[in-house]
């Protein structure tokens, strides 16, 4: 919240759209603004009435550089918008930088998402430190319902809950040092390590002391919100991402055209609906694909599945759990993750050499 917990004193808040961006149809701007207000109306007793003339509580406008409030914008990118907390005159007013390109989707800055964030300010919310919250200061695109538990707790602390409607907030961002932390997928990407968990990924760079947490959608808007498995095939500079029965390919941070493809194209039987973990072993040129209690071996050179598979994980990796959530090969060792446990497995000695907590991989 802002200092002194600034808020509107009545629940009927008015707004007026003073001018429109030429980037979108007028109707699309109206819809984005109305939908943004509805997001807050759904979780509070607030109602929002549109005015067509005169002074409204929340005056909405598009402007560039210095646009009348001595709080200038900065041209393309950088600052996208700002809003003032509840109060008289400029209080509640919301300004969008017209030097940005506004869109209805993920092509450029999504007006609905930015408007919903700014209206959070206009209603009395300050910035959140939770990267999964809508009120986090940095822009990221995501689909679906935009509010997290943190956003809802914040707004309801000011206005109380909506007496009739119930909505399901997005879960908070996973905490890297949670002792019960598990991973969805782990892969290398050009010398970095990428760890997928829920809607987020951590990026571990050899020169960064701290892992960096980002929304998957923020970097790859067309990837699903949940990743099951991932592996890097460095010979082709490709990273493969699995979610359900589909797989995507990345070249660096860019998505490769022609994907998603069905995982069954790799030669997996149709009965396999998810790949739990995948890892490429450079010494053998094979990629191991894990699903439930079994694994398959895929030959990257011939692009065929090796015969004699599936085999039992428990039988071939003694000392391991019978299922794996994620796997990665580093410095001659296979790291298997299952729930909150990490198994460090020597591929040459064929045995587990260390068992530690999953979160130790994130320096916890």
């Amino acid at each position: 919240h802002f200092p002194r917990n600034l808020k509107w004193q009545n629940t009927n808040v008015t707004f007026r759209i003073v001018n429109y961006t030429p980037d979108l149809k007028k109707a699309d701007v109206d819809r984005a603004i109305r939908n943004a207000f509805n997001i807050w109306a759904d979780v509070t007793p607030l109602t929002f009435k549109k005015l067509h003339e005169g002074k409204a509580d929340i005056m909405i406008s598009f402007g560039t550089k210095e646009h009348g409030d001595f709080n200038p914008f900065d041209g393309p990118d950088g600052l996208l918008a700002h809003a003032y907390p509840p109060g008289r005159d400029i209080g509640g007013d919301t300004h969008f930088d017209e030097d940005e390109h506004w869109s209805k989707d993920s092509d450029s800055y999504n007006l609905f998402l930015v408007a919903t964030h700014e209206f959070g300010h206009a209603l009395g919310l300050s910035h959140s430190t939770d990267p999964g919250a809508l009120m986090y200061p940095v822009y990221s695109y995501s689909q679906g319902y935009p509010l997290s538990e943190d956003d809802i707790t914040g707004i309801q602390a000011l206005y109380g809950p909506n007496p009739t409607r119930k909505v399901k907030p997005k879960p908070d961002a996973p905490n890297k040092c949670d002792p019960m932390l598990s991973f969805d997928a782990v892969t290398e990407l050009r010398g970095e390590t990428i760890i997928f968990k829920d809607r987020f990924y951590w990026r571990l760079h050899p020169q960064f002391a701290e892992p960096e947490q980002t929304l998957i959608k923020s970097t790859w808007p067309s990837l699903p919100n949940k990743v099951d498995a991932a592996y890097e095939y460095p010979e082709k500079d490709m990273v493969f991402i699995f979610s359900g029965i589909r797989m995507w390919a990345l070249n660096g941070y860019n998505l490769v055209e022609g994907y998603p493809k069905y995982i069954h194209k790799l030669g997996l039987p149709r009965t396999v609906r998810t790949v739990d973990a995948a890892v490429y072993i450079p010494d053998t040129g094979k990629t191991l694909l894990f699903s439930e209690e079994h694994y398959w071996s895929y030959d990257e050179k011939t692009n065929t599945m090796d015969s004699g598979f599936p085999r039992s994980i428990e039988m071939d990796f003694p000392g391991m759990a019978d299922e794996v959530d994620a796997a990665v090969y580093q410095y001659g060792y296979l790291h298997f993750f299952h729930e909150h446990t990490q198994f460090e497995y020597s591929y040459s000695a064929r045995k587990v050499i260390q068992i530690v907590r999953t979160n130790s991989f994130l320096n916890c």
Binding site: L79, L80, S126, T129, V138, Y139, F208, E210, Q213
Partner: protein, 82 residues
């Protein structure tokens, strides 16, 4: 002292602008290379790193600079609202 490279100057200017706007770094202090201005800048960098759950070093490391250059909302993150 060696002169800082152009790239380093750019990074410092970016950081000063960012901290002035979002962390209330006082204008005027950072322009002169005094002990006090350097301390003020470091304290604000620490504040920003702490807000974003970065490693709190007080220095302009790659993570910090990357975050400073991301598209964002123009409302200050912490402190009294102006």
């Amino acid at each position: 002292m060696p002169l800082s490279s152009l790239e380093e100057t750019d990074k410092r200017l970016l950081a000063e602008k960012y901290l002035r706007r979002f962390y209330n770094l006082q204008a005027g202090l950072q322009g002169t290379k005094t002990h006090r201005s350097s301390d003020a800048m470091q304290a604000k960098i620490r504040e920003m790193q702490s807000f974003f759950n970065l490693q709190v070093t007080g220095s302009l490391d790659a993570n910090t600079l990357e975050l400073m250059s991301m598209a964002r909302c123009g409302v200050p993150d912490v402190g009294e609202y102006n």
